[in-house]
Amino acid sequence: MSSTAVTAGKASSNVPDAAGRFGEFGRRFVPETLMHALEELTVEYARAKADPEFNRRLNELLRTFVGRPNPLYFAERLTEMCGGAQIYFKREDLNHTGAHKINNTMGQALLTMRMGKKRVIAETGAGQHGVATATACARFGLPCVVYMGEEDIRRQKLNVFIMRTMGAEVRPVTSGSRTLRDAINEAMRDWMSSVEDTHYILGSVVGPHPFPMIVRDFQSVIGREAREQSLETIGRLPDEVVACVGGGSNSAGMFYPFVDDAGVELTGVEAGGRGDKPGEHASTLTYGTKGVLHGSYSYVLQDPDGQTMDVHSISAGLDYPGVGPEHSYWRDTGRVNYVNIRDQHALDTVQLVARTEGILPALESSHAIAYAMDRARQRKPNEVIVVCLSGRGDKDVNEVARLTGQDL
């Protein structure tokens, strides 16, 4: 990839370029069959973005259907307990369907109709993106097929039930590791044969251009609100912003509006799993190498032959061997710092946050909270950390009960 710009140095918010490059990362590595649809999507998205009516409609839906803006909440007891910096939660868990994923699916559903496409497909890991897609499709009367790995179907039963209730067809994926990565493969294969009349609502900032840009833009409502709310409530910007990173959509949406605010430290938290050996974690930006996966050039957990490695996380939404190309760009420019939190720590944090704050976070989000708590202890009481609480934990109750030896 020698033609591309040098990434070392300051991260720009003016990315990607027309070829879908974030520094050297991104681009399009997909079969020719999909190229025309990606070009069309790029053109139509640019038009939609500049269309006041599209934006008015999306904002109206976000307000009346999704329930935005959601609050920036001071986690007072958690802050007291850590005895350091003040911890605030950006409450994406309060959105309709319980996670940030719906910010993207409402936008992409509007795009689907704008392009005259008649059917929607999606992949899902934790099921939150599947539920958010099924919900958007029910709202607009679009037929919807969701691909989901068998292992994730087991882990996230509640969401499977919700998707089906919303009228979506959930297709179990039995290939490979039966998780998010395989669900994306299957959705892409469906799209190869259905691309003329079907839109693929990709659920994270991954995949070929323009998906990483579109999903980031639709999710940026998180960071924009959090930024304004910080200025309103604390009178200044936070010292640090923390979010969990699976494919990287809640974190990209949270970070992007802060990228040019040099004084705000940005930290992405990946799944540390059971340990640091290959196969035990899903910490792509810590242990991965540059490579190509799912149509995009980014960091990947892969073996020396370029074969994708198996990964592990307690949380289905973080259990992914790739990461969005903009995160790779932020990593290499040093704009965002990436760390990881282990399974047990995330699991303990779910219970702790439930008891101290009366909020049941998703396992994904609790990775971010766990790190924010560690960080708060190292920071001064006048400092502020804002955490993206990307989703609520209802979907995880079966799994948490099983892992903590309780009956449901």
Binding site: E32, H36, G176, L293, H294, G306
Partner: protein, 255 residues
């Protein structure tokens, strides 16, 4: 018309692969595509996916493919073309990969996830080693786009017969003939059709329209049995070769 069968390297093992290369060569193959097993092949249907999974399950490593091909390429006159994901090429290193491919005797590369737009630099590199980078055109490719893609193509053009993944299908898509006619006006390179071909009748229908028939899943499918029944090797090889002869005959009589 040329008969261009596809084999997965390392399914069930490289010894069988190299033997099959020789058998296909004597059965009338005019070019053989060698698939490099990849963990996440989004352009492939269930048959080739499973074949890749079997090869990787047997712990096949990419450098071993080059060793095996290097040995067999010397013994046959049929050109060998690698079908390989850009994920693998990039990881090995573009320069290193192309050098290995050239040294082991490959005549060209098909990189299904490196579309024309992204291929410029890589094409130059491949060309500088005397290999062809085969370009693909799909039913969803508009004519102005295929004209751009074909401008600096070499070797032959891989014409994808259906929008979809690899895998045998019943007939031929009705738009295929129009697509091939358009491509004829855009290039003088041979047009080879792939994705979905499995029967002699389909090959016959391509008469006058295409210069090559690529058959993948229908060949690879023969090897499935070996994963549960390795003792059947001789049976499987003879059935595969017999099948290949039937396609070769259809291709060669429909010039």
């Amino acid at each position: 018309m040329a008969f261009m069968p596809f084999l997965t390297a390392g399914d069930p093992n490289l010894a069988v692969t190299t033997r099959l290369i020789e058998e296909l060569s004597s059965a009338g193959a005019d070019l053989i595509e060698i698939g490099f097993p990849y963990s996440d092949p989004i352009a492939d249907g269930p048959v080739i996916q499973s074949s890749y999974t079997r090869a990787l399950g047997a712990r096949l490593h990419i450098p071993e493919i080059f060793v095996a091909i290097g040995a067999v390429a010397k013994k046959i006159r049929t050109p060998l073309v690698a079908m390989v994901s850009y994920a693998i090429i990039f990881r090995i290193g573009n320069e290193a990969f192309v050098k290995l491919a050239a040294e082991s005797g490959f005549a060209g590369l098909i990189v299904p996830d490196l579309p024309g737009d992204e291929a410029d630099e890589f094409q130059t590199l491949v060309g500088s080693h005397g290999l062809d980078l085969i370009q693909l055109v799909a039913p969803t490719t508009p004519a102005d786009r295929s004209a751009r893609i074909l401008k600096n193509a070499s070797g032959f053009v891989y014409c994808i017969a259906v929008a979809g993944t690899t895998g045998a299908r019943e007939g031929l898509a009705p738009q295929l003939a129009d697509m091939l006619k358009t491509l004829r006006t855009q290039t003088t390179l041979p047009l080879a059709v792939g994705f979905g071909l499995s029967r002699p009748e389909q090959v016959e229908q391509l008469r006058g329209l295409a210069d090559g028939a690529i058959v993948g899943s229908a060949i690879v499918r023969h090897l499935e049995e070996l994963s549960t029944n390795p003792g059947k090797l001789e049976d499987v090889v003879s059935r595969l070769v017999q099948y290949a002869r039937s396609i070769a005959a259809a291709a060669h009589t429909s010039r």
